[in-house]
Symmetry: D2
Subunit: 339 residues, 4 copies
Amino acid sequence: MKTKIGVCLIGAGRAGMIHARNFIANVPFAKIVAVSDPVEESRKAAMETLGVSAGYADYREALKDPAVDAVIIATPTKYHRDACVAAAEAGKDVLCEKPMAMTVEECDEMIRACRRHNVKLQIAFMRRFDASFRAAKERVDAGEIGDVVLVKSNTRGPNKPQPWMYDIGKSNGPLAEVCSHDIDTLRWFTGSEYKRIYAVGGNYRCPDARADFPDFYDNVMMSCEFENGMQGQIDGAQYVKYGYDARVEILGTDGLITLGSTYADSVVVFKPDKKSEATHVTGWQSLFSAAYLEEDRHFIDCILNDKTPAVTGWDGMMAVKVVIEGNRSIREHRIIDLL
Amino acid sequence: MKTKIGVCLIGAGRAGMIHARNFIANVPFAKIVAVSDPVEESRKAAMETLGVSAGYADYREALKDPAVDAVIIATPTKYHRDACVAAAEAGKDVLCEKPMAMTVEECDEMIRACRRHNVKLQIAFMRRFDASFRAAKERVDAGEIGDVVLVKSNTRGPNKPQPWMYDIGKSNGPLAEVCSHDIDTLRWFTGSEYKRIYAVGGNYRCPDARADFPDFYDNVMMSCEFENGMQGQIDGAQYVKYGYDARVEILGTDGLITLGSTYADSVVVFKPDKKSEATHVTGWQSLFSAAYLEEDRHFIDCILNDKTPAVTGWDGMMAVKVVIEGNRSIREHRIIDLL
Amino acid sequence: MKTKIGVCLIGAGRAGMIHARNFIANVPFAKIVAVSDPVEESRKAAMETLGVSAGYADYREALKDPAVDAVIIATPTKYHRDACVAAAEAGKDVLCEKPMAMTVEECDEMIRACRRHNVKLQIAFMRRFDASFRAAKERVDAGEIGDVVLVKSNTRGPNKPQPWMYDIGKSNGPLAEVCSHDIDTLRWFTGSEYKRIYAVGGNYRCPDARADFPDFYDNVMMSCEFENGMQGQIDGAQYVKYGYDARVEILGTDGLITLGSTYADSVVVFKPDKKSEATHVTGWQSLFSAAYLEEDRHFIDCILNDKTPAVTGWDGMMAVKVVIEGNRSIREHRIIDLL
Amino acid sequence: MKTKIGVCLIGAGRAGMIHARNFIANVPFAKIVAVSDPVEESRKAAMETLGVSAGYADYREALKDPAVDAVIIATPTKYHRDACVAAAEAGKDVLCEKPMAMTVEECDEMIRACRRHNVKLQIAFMRRFDASFRAAKERVDAGEIGDVVLVKSNTRGPNKPQPWMYDIGKSNGPLAEVCSHDIDTLRWFTGSEYKRIYAVGGNYRCPDARADFPDFYDNVMMSCEFENGMQGQIDGAQYVKYGYDARVEILGTDGLITLGSTYADSVVVFKPDKKSEATHVTGWQSLFSAAYLEEDRHFIDCILNDKTPAVTGWDGMMAVKVVIEGNRSIREHRIIDLL
């Protein structure tokens, strides 16, 4: 038996490099063995940073590398399907970044390919591995707040959307890029599937997109009903400037759980203007770094011990479905039944 | 000129008594001079508490009392219209509790009557007088968070609904009883009128109501769009048990404002089980006691200095309209256009 | 029997007016009937504000007024003794502001006079009536944190000291003006008497006082040991600019209680500089307004029902003793044994 | 030039293993190459965990290993001096856990040995590398709160002291084991040396130690004056049960900085008893894990780039001096002048 699972990073962007750095050293029984990225500069930089000598412009070549046992797919979303299917066909286990794919059909193909070739498929909803999210889930499952009634989740990011996100047809918009996590969080805490949604979007902060991309929205709110009768509310935003903001509330029949801190550290400065000042967290990278690590460890643990990942292709597919139907709801100004 | 405005309390329930106690002593240039309540026991108790000798079973008699310059209407909502119109016809200024009335038509009658008889009409959305709400409003108006994008407001109460609330046709339900304030808060912070709403309700905590009142809901969420394009999210709940919970978030193009504390005091107890414990506020009475006082002072100030109240009959009417259309949205599972 | 206790305010400064306003209306069975202040302008203004027609330049005249049943002594500290003794001799119950007096001997005289003439003597340590302080005390007394080990208390005020405070010989300094409350808080939570103290003071913010008042300190810390073996730490400061700051920690054998909030309201503003901003409370007047009211009600309750006040002359005297010995400790750079 | 600094862990206890795990992978240009511990079981377990094949019962043997470039000294304090001097003589750079040694004389020997043999000596006051402590220091240094007036620091640990700590003569007591960090924090924020201290200790939670170790204290408070006139207050405690609690306040002439969070995660649970519940952090290991990592990186950076460590032997020695004189102050009930 191999003592270390060899992992190949496909797509050397920000999220990919967080995973890769974890695999260098902090994930027992794993090591990073190859990097694939079509952009030479990114690939070279990643190889240097990670201390890896095997680099591939085309991930199909990487999949032939016998040192590679598993892959992290962290490419732009539109390439996820092809990379995943190819990895499955090569017998490599897959950890795939969110959103899982561009369409439900793509997700379905990915799930089938992984099942057919008997490889693991884990979707990277890392919040499920965050200490606060997990503690909240345990307490909900233990019945501490009775039955869940309503789950609220918001994600707001500080940065201006990349121009490629303006075309909702190509990016699936902020529902995909920002709210995939919220969508998954509601499914997780309700333990149920989406039954009916109603989403409203608007472009408030990106005037440069208005002329060419009238469908683009940088702020979205979504009202959700679940099969088991529970309620959900999501709000998502891009370019909020004040920082990165991800908070959740779970209201039950017998109590409430809140989670999510927006502060970068514990320092509070009180000034002569009678104001006190705290510093806001600026990105998910720092906020969820421990969650990424736990997620990566879980992936290796599932491979080594032949377990089903805690976040499956089904979870990824259902989130994609809600993204697509949510965009339809925004576009057509109507309620969408999902069942 | 009279040195003190004589105020008559019509309806000696909880909210009414809060106002009345304020008028005894803490509102300059005002005093409580009479109490009207058809229930003898309540009326007598209120007269005793307030140190008032004039008590009337029928408010029509009270309105003939020359010592009465103004009235507080704090009866059950269904009597608001008649009491208000009668007071206006008697030339008395009116401070009317929320919800303003059962229907938009009733509100309209009240507004017309007060206008015709040239008396003040102030609706008791006391949150607008709360120090935190006011500070937030000032900062929003000063442009500190840019343009408003989304306003979120929740109100949750700890107590089991009274049986009379179960019949939505008669009570207008939690949207009226609990969320009137949230509905007003969104109008106030957006500075705009409701354009489109979608509400979802469910009964999660009151199984005893299910058989006879299938329309009853104790939890409601509402998605709101405003004429000026801003977004809003409301959630309301009854019988949440953990305490009284009223919080607001205002997300702007350049920042965020949060407000609302859920704690009864500043005490935190750290225990050997590694948990710390804080005490929750249990009711709006303590949370908003200072706001009631400011509201009452404002009412007298408007009378004495002939100002238009900060919360008008129009504000009350628009909230009633949203309550009624929100109930329709819940009942018919559809989006309602309000324009 | 009289239906209302007639109260005379002696000293129409800030603290005095807070009490007086409470007695106008919010304290059952009490009313303010007279004001005494040697400064005509202050006296007239207070009479106008309070709606009182009886004003006296000399409190000795006020004490002859048969409408006066009780007095609030809120003069400068150096006049407390004379006013209290005179009030006692006139048979008037006394609520005396802190610090109780300039010396332990004065306190002793006051206690004896009140005892001799069988009048109540309550010292205005209003924090004991604050909701958070009381909740903490109840939980300590209920054994929730085991036995008390260490009590920490700080008081810091935003304003520049008045020039008359610079002469420690005359003012007893910040230990008296600022830390009297902390000194009392430690006695209250430990349930014991001071055994040994060590205080250190310095002048950090008032350079204008340095030449003429080398003994003046605007920052003080004090280490305290109690008869029952418990520990205490105090720190006090003037002119901290950032706001008013009064917090307490009670460390027990089995837990910890913290109390005290420094925020003026619940508003938090998140800004594009990634900072969030909250507003600081600026004075004890707003922070402890409810505590003043409870204190005033308690005073009247003690008179009407012949109870011993919760804060006695002994409590006031022990605080004065610690102030004086604390000043000695600062001056002589040595530990002081108090037993 | 070597591409990786080879590090040997001397003393495979809790703190040592935290460092060692960091060096495995997270510290660039470093790797762990050997473990030394006289207890075979501990040594073997550490070798297994760290994946290291070189294990030594006697660190003197480890120091002969050419793969070892630097050492982490994490033995019991009483062995620090010998290990450090031996490492220096062998030309190995030293990262030494706190407290630096048992006496000032030992510290002095260590400093001289490292200077003589031209090796680095860094003392592991890891709080200086914590994100919140660093942010506070930067803001203090930037003058945001004016000049520092008073620094308060507390450290309280949840666990019962080990029996070997009961003998203050051998352990230097909680001032050494718990408050070394607080002592360093005050020096760091005041930027000055201790001039005068007064400490009080008591045994409140360890009745089993009273008979045999009457000098043992599990709670200590210390009043501190600095050469530059600034003030300091420390309190330290063992076996507080409720969790691990390290907080700091820096009061300046123009403001205040507070830092330190006591919560394990961001989850708050609101329950039907009207209480909300948060979970306390239970140990320094989790609270300061990122600080340990920064500290270890800094050590390697100093070696590679020939820099003076941010925390020197002098810093370590001054803390030991205050510990010893603080214990004297407790024992002799007197103020100690340190200059």
